[in-house]
Structure formats: structure tokens, C-alpha cells
């Protein structure tokens, strides 16, 4: 497979939050294998944050206590991380193990858990999520006792987290019994701990997914992750975040084999998906809709703009993807569902924000009205991070640039810098919000 700028852009958008022009040029030169290694394995020594920390009009973020700062804190990580795939997987697991309506410190703790396990063992991640206080409270696993086992977590564990199908109502009931025993403790200031109390656990014999015994919580997790349908289920789910076209049966089998042989490791599976030719199909016609979080973080990252305003929180809520607040345990509806009229309106508002406050803002005196249409387009395209643009979009924008001064006496063009700057603002805004920019 050849390896071009377009390949790098596709990989960096799908695996993270886009590529800057410098990254595109550097990794196109270094080749496919080196690029994939860097994207998947991350920098030596782990992720770091590059660039200035958020400063909201002189205020440092307080993600625990100030509403909305938790969102800005995470967006900032996506913008400044040296390991974007780790943040992308954290976002994917936040959707997969969707949790909401829990206290902010618990949600931030869960976010750290998801990041820590983002590319490790799925079984270990599942164990951590099962014991995670925010999840335990959200799906009523905490305080599910042998006298009154709650089936919420057992049901979603099988339906949404690991299997999808191939289990019975009886399996749900038996798993609920096996998962009993977690007990919460509160003080006047909130949750103190969730601990496993053997005296609250149902230690009777259960029959779950064909196995009989005195099963406990870890037995349940071992059983669901060793079912035949688990690997194809997880392969299909992870694939859908990276490639719009569903995988063939053969691809699912091959990826499921990689996943199983690795001992249910996430990283080799993700590496195989990111290496798959389907990910690089139709490089000039992208077909995966950017999720709002990806759109916002990607626009900031690829234009070299840092978090200096709190608009992202409000915009993401209006776009339909407020982190830490998924609509249900099933997560968000991805794909074309993101493109509602209200969401698109907010995406345009983000363009306004970027050309007003962000790095792509037009500096006075920087864009004379005497530039040729091609020069004007090129300047705008460079200023917004050289995003992928179709030939049709480019032709439309150059047409706009050509006729932008039609009402102006040609003799005045040399002194009409403000009109040239207005054109630059318009072109940059359209490049950031045009149909091409909604897909990756």
C-alpha cells in the first residue's frame, strides 16, 4: 500500500483528532509501518500534554467543582495529548460503558479508569468498570444483595458490554445473583466507598451460560468474555467507531482471531483495524461523520488553537454529545444521527468561534484584497490547518473569492484591505464548517 498525505490525514482523524500540516508531512515521509507504530503505541514514556494549559479569561480549570470544566478539561487533553489514540479510545469506552447522572468526582475517576485501560486487556477493563463506583451506582450494582438481586448491571453486561445476543433471561437472573455483594457507604458529604461484602453475596449454586457452580462476580466476567459470541461482538462494535462500512464476515473472523489469540488485548485488535485497507478506502470521499467531540477537539487541535474560552461545553451540549452525560446506558447514536439541523447550526457557531478567538483569526493587514482567488484560497486553507477539501469545494470557494469584490471599483482594491480580510474570514469559516469538514 502506498503511503501519502491523504493516508496520514485519514489515519490521524480516525485514530485521534486530526493531523496538523507538520504531522502530515513528517509521517507521510516516514512511511506506513512507522506511522502506525507511533499512532498505536504512542510516544515512549507515555502520553504528555503539549502547549499551554487552559486559561479561561484568567481562571484555571476546576473540573471537579465548576460545572462544564470537566468537559473543557477532557477536550484540552484531546487537543494537547501526544497520544491521541488513547484519548480516542477513552471516548469510545465512555460510549461503550456509558454512565451518567453521577457526581462529578466519580465520573472523573471513571474517566481515569477508562484511560488507564483504554488499550490494555478488555477483561481487566471490564473488571475495573464493574467495580467502578459511578457504574455501580448508575446500574444499581451497588447494594444489590442476595435478598434482592438487581438485574440492571447483569443485563447490560451481556446485552451492551460483551455479548449482544446468545443468552437467556435465566442467564441474566443468575448473573445478577452472582454479582451481588457490593455495598455502598456514605457520610454526610457523599459516597465514602463501595466495598465487596461476602455476607451480602449470594453464595448459592447458579447455572450461568451453561456452567454450574457457586459463581461470584469474577466468574461472571470470565464467562461472558469467553463466550464464542464475545469476540465478534466486540470486533463489530470497535470497527464501527473507525470504519463506516460494516466489516465482511471474513474480516470479523480474522479480527476475532487476533483478539482471542492476544488474550483479549485491545491494542492488537485496534492496530489490525487501523491497518485494514477498508480504513483507507475512498480517501477523496470520506464517509464517517465526525462525532461532535471529535469535530470540536479536532478543529482546535488541527488549527493550533488551545482552550481559552468555555464555549466548547455549551456547544457540545447543543451538538448532542456532552461528555460525562450520555443519553442512556446504550451511549450516543453515532453516524448521520449527529447531523441534525440544530447540531449543524452549532458546528457553524464553532467556526465563528475559531475565526474570532482561535489561531485561524484574520490579523489586520494580513490579507490584501489584491490576492488572486487561488492565493486567497491557499492562504485560508493554510490558516485552518490544510484540511482535506474536495475539488468541488475548492472550486466553489475560489469562485466565491473571484466574485467577492465585484461590487468594488477595481481602482479601490489596493486600499480595501478590510474587504480582503472579510474574504479571508469567510473562506476560513467555510473551510472549517463545509460538508467536507463534517466527515473524516
Amino acid at each position: 500500500m502506498s503511503w501519502t498525505d491523504a493516508h496520514v490525514r485519514r489515519l490521524f482523524w480516525r485514530a485521534g483528532f486530526g493531523a496538523t500540516p507538520a504531522e502530515v508531512r513528517a509521517w507521510a515521509k516516514r512511511g506506513r509501518a512507522a506511522t502506525l507504530d507511533w499512532v498505536v503505541d504512542g510516544p515512549r514514556g507515555g502520553a504528555r500534554l503539549r502547549g499551554p494549559a487552559p486559561n479561561i479569561r484568567g481562571r484555571r480549570l476546576d473540573p471537579v467543582n465548576v460545572w462544564g470544566d470537566d468537559v473543557l478539561w477532557w477536550i484540552d487533553r484531546m487537543v494537547r495529548t501526544t497520544y491521541p489514540l488513547q484519548e480516542k479510545l477513552t471516548l469510545i469506552w465512555h460510549d461503550h460503558f456509558a454512565t451518567s447522572q453521577q457526581d462529578t468526582p466519580l465520573m472523573l475517576a471513571q474517566n481515569r479508569t477508562l484511560r488507564r485501560g483504554a488499550l490494555g486487556s478488555f477483561r481487566a477493563l471490564l473488571g475495573a468498570v464493574t467495580r467502578d463506583p459511578a457504574m455501580q451506582l448508575f446500574l444499581s450494582l451497588a447494594d444489590s444483595t442476595k435478598q434482592a438481586p438487581n438485574e440492571n448491571y447483569a443485563r447490560e453486561l451481556m446485552e451492551l458490554f460483551t455479548l449482544g445476543s446468545g443468552y437467556s433471561e435465566r442467564d441474566v437472573r443468575e448473573a445478577a445473583r452472582a454479582l451481588t455483594g457490593f455495598s455502598s457507604r456514605y457520610s454526610n458529604s457523599g459516597l465514602v466507598s463501595i466495598a465487596y461484602r461476602p455476607d451480602q453475596h449470594d453464595d448459592g449454586v447458579k447455572t450461568l451460560l451453561g456452567r454450574r457452580g457457586r459463581l461470584g462476580p469474577d466468574d461472571v466476567l470470565d464467562l461472558v468474555t469467553t463466550q464464542r459470541q464475545h469476540a465478534p461482538f466486540l470486533v463489530g462494535k470497535l470497527w464501527s467507531y473507525f470504519v463506516a462500512t460494516p466489516p465482511s464476515a471474513g474480516t470479523v473472523r480474522a479480527l476475532a482471531t487476533i483478539y482471542r489469540r492476544s488474550g483479549l488485548q485491545i491494542k492488537p485488535l485496534v492496530r489490525a483495524i487501523l491497518s485494514h485497507p477498508a480504513l483507507y478506502a475512498n480517501l477523496d470521499a470520506p464517509d464517517l461523520v465526525k462525532a461532535p467531540v471529535v469535530y470540536v477537539a479536532g478543529a482546535l487541535r488541527t488549527t493550533g488553537t488551545y482552550v481559552t474560552q468555555d464555549y466548547a461545553t455549551w456547544m457540545l451540549e447543543q451538538m448532542g454529545q456532552l461528555p460525562f452525560d450520555p443519553p442512556s446506558v446504550a451511549g450516543w447514536d453515532w453516524g448521520p444521527a449527529w447531523m441534525s439541523s440544530n447540531s449543524m447550526c452549532q458546528r457553524f457557531a464553532l467556526g465563528n468561534y475559531l475565526v474570532t478567538w482561535g489561531r485561524p483569526r484574520v490579523r489586520r493587514g494580513s490579507a490584501p484584497a489584491t490576492l488572486t482567488p487561488r492565493q486567497a484560497f491557499q492562504r485560508a486553507w493554510s490558516a485552518v490547518g490544510e484540511p482535506p477539501v474536495s475539488g468541488a469545494t475548492r472550486a466553489t470557494l475560489e469562485h466565491l473569492a473571484k466574485h467577492f469584490f465585484d461590487d468594488l471599483d477595481p481602482r479601490w482594491r489596493g486600499t480595501a484591505g478590510w474587504r480582503g480580510e472579510a474574504l479571508q474570514g469567510t473562506l476560513r469559516h467555510l473551510l472549517l464548517t463545509c460538508p467536507d469538514s463534517q466527515l473524516h
Binding site: Q101, Q102, S189
Partner: protein, 130 residues
């Protein structure tokens, strides 16, 4: 002792627009500029508060209340002797509110005074240090 307060704000889930209300007994503008603001996140549900910070330095304290419960709740800040210093007003399920107060060193009670919510456990304390 309270030097000034801004009123409460009820924020809709859609925009959660800030609607800071009345400033009472406000200190001078200079004094306000010098006073740091410390936020205290508070989660409410039946029938308990989760207080994300139990101690703050003296000055302006901004309470960010989120109601995670199914019933309406409010947040009332009062002295240990029960003098009410500020309240958010009733906050519906899934909604947010902000209450901003200027607090001197001491210990304050945070309660929900709707129906019998306080008696059922919706009370906690905040320590303000020098």
C-alpha cells in the same frame, strides 16, 4: 458573616444560561476584585448531598449545585445557628443552579429545606478557613 451575595440561578439543561441575580450588601468593587472565588460542587439526590470540597478559604464561594435525583431539591446555606445566608430556590430533576456568597471563616450548614428532606439526610457542613 456574609458580606455580600449574588442570588441563585436556575439553569435549564438546554443552555444552563447564567442568570446571576441581586447583589446585596456588596462590598466595594476593589474589595471584590481582591477576593478570590472558590467553587464548591454539590450533587443532590434522595436524600443526601455529595459535597465535592469540604473546606474552602474565606472569600467568595460559588456553589455549583446539580440535582441528580428524581424530586426537586434546593440548597440553603446557613450559619450554625440557623440564620439563612442564601438559597438556590427549588431545582428540578436533572437541573443545575449556582449560588454565590461571600463567606467569612467559620463552619456553615448546607441543607435542603424542602419538605422533610433535611431530616431524611440532606444536610452537610462546609468549613471556611482563614
Amino acid at each position: 458573616m456574609v458580606a455580600w451575595r449574588t442570588g441563585s440561578l436556575l439553569a435549564g439543561a438546554a443552555l444552563a444560561a447564567a442568570l446571576l441575580a441581586v447583589v446585596l450588601a456588596a462590598p466595594t468593587a476593589d474589595a471584590r476584585r481582591r477576593t478570590p472565588t472558590t467553587a464548591v460542587g454539590v450533587g443532590a439526590r434522595e436524600y443526601r448531598f455529595a459535597e465535592y470540597r469540604a473546606s474552602v478559604p474565606r472569600g467568595v464561594v460559588r456553589f455549583d449545585l446539580t440535582n441528580y435525583g428524581e424530586d426537586g431539591h434546593d440548597l440553603v446555606v446557613e450559619t450554625r445557628r440557623g440564620r439563612v445566608l442564601g438559597r438556590t430556590g427549588k431545582v428540578g430533576s436533572g437541573r443545575r443552579a449556582v449560588l454565590q456568597l461571600h463567606l467569612a471563616p467559620g463552619t456553615y450548614r448546607l441543607v435542603c429545606d424542602l419538605a422533610d428532606h433535611e431530616a431524611r439526610g440532606m444536610h452537610t457542613t462546609l468549613r471556611v478557613t482563614r
